[in-house]
Symmetry: C2
């Protein structure tokens, strides 16, 4: 049963009540050109669904080893599926970004104070998922004022994001890849208030460089085979 | 001696070393139409300099009575001047906003979660003064990461902003005026690290309503005569 149709993957529930993602070969972009920053589906890339399952599985299994709670249960790369535990997002969806280098929207906002490429100390910020408003930045006070986060959740999300990002940064460094920034999504596990990492963890969520060269998100899988 | 030429006032230093603002009748706006949200001078309004001195003096004197540190020394409405203690802004200038009602940029950013006119609980947020980047919103972590604020200063500014805004809200309520939001600027007093309220406190810094009707910033002075 189709529960939710997403841009790059659909959420299904099977007859036994298990939830799983069906990854698609659709990628975000515009006019047929892939762009992970775009909020709409604009292109199809053969094999991208499978690639995202392979990369996500690697990271979710690594995070499990390190004791980080996630919604991941298991995956099947051949069929581009991933079984997950159901969770509810914060508000209409919240993204938590960790930055090790000042690039992208950070420099567009704060270019008066920082040059592109400057090191940042695992700086964390939150944005709302809202295509119409270009995913606006939001502060702790606004998240609590609008009832999107409860007391204590901001700091829990910030700490989890730092921990996860450090783990991924180290794992990428072992492959001679440098993590510049990463965008994570969290939810509360259904039936409890436990906060877990949700969605996928793949090239489209992060900026990765190899010896100073930007790695196309869809090429990231080549380092995991 | 002219120290700094601003959009709506100039900063002078006299022969005895005193600093004072010379308010001008120039107002921010575009194509001859007054707009307090605009970042450029676009119109001239006869008497606006004097009006801003009268309103600012009222508020600065009230704040002094309540024990709030400000850069205000004295003023001369006839000559549109205000003597101040010299202070240095944070970074290239930082604005601290307190909101009692959700309007303006707050709704443009968070309209998915809040309707225009909703009550807010003296919500405080910080923006950078940067005309080219439309005064971007900035979080506590970014302010500290970029070296704009030192440890403890964020909370001090937030508390001062809440206290000042509550005092002004009450004073306006006594005139049957309702404060929706207000934008303040702070600096460190030269020769010490004491944080004080700087700039002016006039109609252009706040949204004020009278019995549900928006009060033009230049009309606010009529309630102070």
């Amino acid at each position: 049963m189709l529960v939710y149709q997403g841009k790059t993957k659909d959420l299904h529930k099977d007859s036994e009540g298990n939830y799983y993602f069906q990854f698609k070969d659709d990628v975000t972009g515009k006019d047929g050109v892939f762009d992970p920053g775009e909020n709409q589906v604009g292109a199809t890339m053969e094999g991208s669904g499978k690639s995202n399952v392979i990369v996500s599985t690697f990271f979710f299994e690594l995070l499990k080893e390190k004791g980080i709670p996630t919604h991941f249960v298991s995956s099947d790369a051949e069929n581009s599926t991933m079984q997950i535990k159901p969770a509810t997002v914060f508000g209409e969806g919240l993204e938590v970004i960790c930055r090790f280098k000042a690039v992208g929207s950070f420099v567009r906002r704060y270019g008066m104070y920082v040059e592109s490429g400057t090191d940042l100390d695992s700086y964390v910020e939150f944005t709302l998922k809202d295509d119409d408003r270009q995913d606006p930045l939001i502060t702790q006070d606004a998240l609590e004022q609008l009832g999107i986060l409860k007391d204590g959740e901001y700091n829990r999300l910030k700490e989890l994001t730092k921990d996860i990002s450090e783990i991924l940064k180290e794992a990428l460094a072992e492959k001679d890849l440098e993590l510049y920034d990463i965008k994570l999504e969290f939810g509360r596990l259904d039936g409890s208030d436990e906060i877990v990492l949700i969605d996928e963890v793949s090239g489209g969520n992060m900026r990765v460089y190899h010896q100073g060269e930007y790695i196309d998100p869809l090429e990231l899988v080549n380092y995991f085979n």
